[in-house]
Assembly symmetry: C2
Homo-oligomer: 267 residues x 2
């Protein structure tokens, strides 16, 4: 999510990005502290002093510089809020909007477990400072291409609730990208469908990758740990949201994953 000011975004390959980096005194890296995650930007900011602000758990190949790391923050936007707030501002509506959308999207619209009292209190303050909750929710979640819903219709035709009612999944037709012009972005939130069915504890979305393997996204309700299941399948993620890529064909992948999930439910 690079809302609400798309005009600020420069491609890492662009001349404009190279010029900006030459003219800059400082590089501020947000939302990751890891060298492998910044790609081409690494070379662009080689000679600049660096400040890293992130809320992810520290990884293996940290970016060197001054690091502000706080995994308890609901979003990197919360840390940026604190920095500006402790400096006494200055505040304006553009900053308020940017930080609101950071918090909104990192909490899934104030619904994930990182929606803390502090997170809601900061959102309140940002709304006071000029962020419009309605307009920003619409910007983040209310502007889909029509083909997203055509794809959803096809995926819904595959919705399966496992016989015990605790596991449900959907698949995305392998030819949908070509036929509908759909992209992976169009799949945003699809896994929420099987997750939202009453009684379901583990939800999965299966899609075929460009190299013919099967990507499975897993979601769970407390206390089920899908990260452990994903790790065993060669992937990983978070406790309640994880993913893995497994061998095809689709039917074999579903059978394998569902069997593993059922073991997880018995644990």
């Amino acid at each position: 999510f690079l809302l609400p000011e798309p005009g600020w975004v420069l491609g890492a390959k662009s001349d404009a990005a190279a010029r900006r980096c030459r003219e800059a005194d400082l590089a501020v890296i947000l939302d990751t502290a890891e060298v492998p995650r910044i790609g081409r930007v690494k070379a662009l900011i080689r000679d600049l002093a660096k400040v890293v602000i992130d809320h992810h758990p520290p990884g293996k190949r940290p970016i060197e510089g001054l690091v502000l790391s706080e995994p308890a923050a609901c979003a990197t936007g919360e840390l940026v809020y604190e920095l500006i707030d402790r400096a006494g501002g200055p505040w304006n509506a553009v900053i308020a909007r940017a930080l609101y959308i950071a918090i909104l999207t990192d909490t899934g619209g104030f619904r994930f477990t990182n929606t803390t009292p502090e997170c809601l209190r900061i959102a309140a303050r940002l709304a006071e400072l000029g962020a419009s909750p309605e307009a920003l929710h619409r910007a983040a979640y209310g502007r889909f291409h029509r083909r997203r819903f055509e794809l959803l219709r096809e995926a819904l035709a595959t919705l399966t609730v496992h016989r015990n009612g605790r596991v449900a999944w959907m698949t995305v037709p392998a030819d949908a990208y070509g036929r509908l012009g759909a992209t992976i972005e169009d799949l945003e939130g699809f896994v929420d469908v099987p997750r939202a069915i009453e009684g379901v504890e583990v939800a999965a979305l299966f899609r075929t990758t460009s190299d013919g393997r099967i990507k499975v996204s897993l979601r769970s309700l407390p206390p089920v740990d899908v990260n452990r299941i994903a790790v065993e399948l060669g992937g990983g993620g978070h406790l309640r949201a994880a993913a893995a890529v497994v061998k095809g064909p689709l039917e074999a992948a579903i059978a394998k994953v569902v069997a593993r999930v059922e073991e997880g439910l018995l644990d």
Copy 2:
């Protein structure tokens, strides 16, 4: 939404409700101030002193008693929060959960225009007092029957974006209730589909009522006023969310409503 303590709910016809009302000293009426909206309850509380707490605009047939009315409140839950807070409590997790869900659902998950700074600040305080944003979001929006999604699939097959791209609608198959065992509750949020399509300013959902007429739900983005359109069609509601019941058959109803909406867009 009568979450999160369904055990508290008594049917207005039940003996238990009659007994409770006989034993009570006071009747507190929440979220409406209108006699026609309380149905059978009116007779049950006839001899009791009454307190009315509501955030809807005052109507024509008010319930008599002590009335606390504040249309600027995001939810009646905000008013109840203020009352308890100003009294200095007592607070417990059950009260915090009940008020949180009132605010959550009346703001559509913190996304409607009534999501004010005050609303978010109260949500923060309620989370501190024991309301879990994740669990309560799941309770309100994460427990659907599977048939909801079967119905959604059929409705998506009818998704139409009008040629100018500013109006979109879906219809619900007239026989879906019988065939899928679906209820009107299963349609919750369906109108968000056409509304979420990029460029759409007015979204509609059409469904056939039990008496063969056509109910249309309308949603708009600022600045379009669908209330005015709904009033002209014999219905009403709010500025951005309104509804009307019009004559069938379905195709004629769609043509009529879409023509009226197009005029509204030209205004």
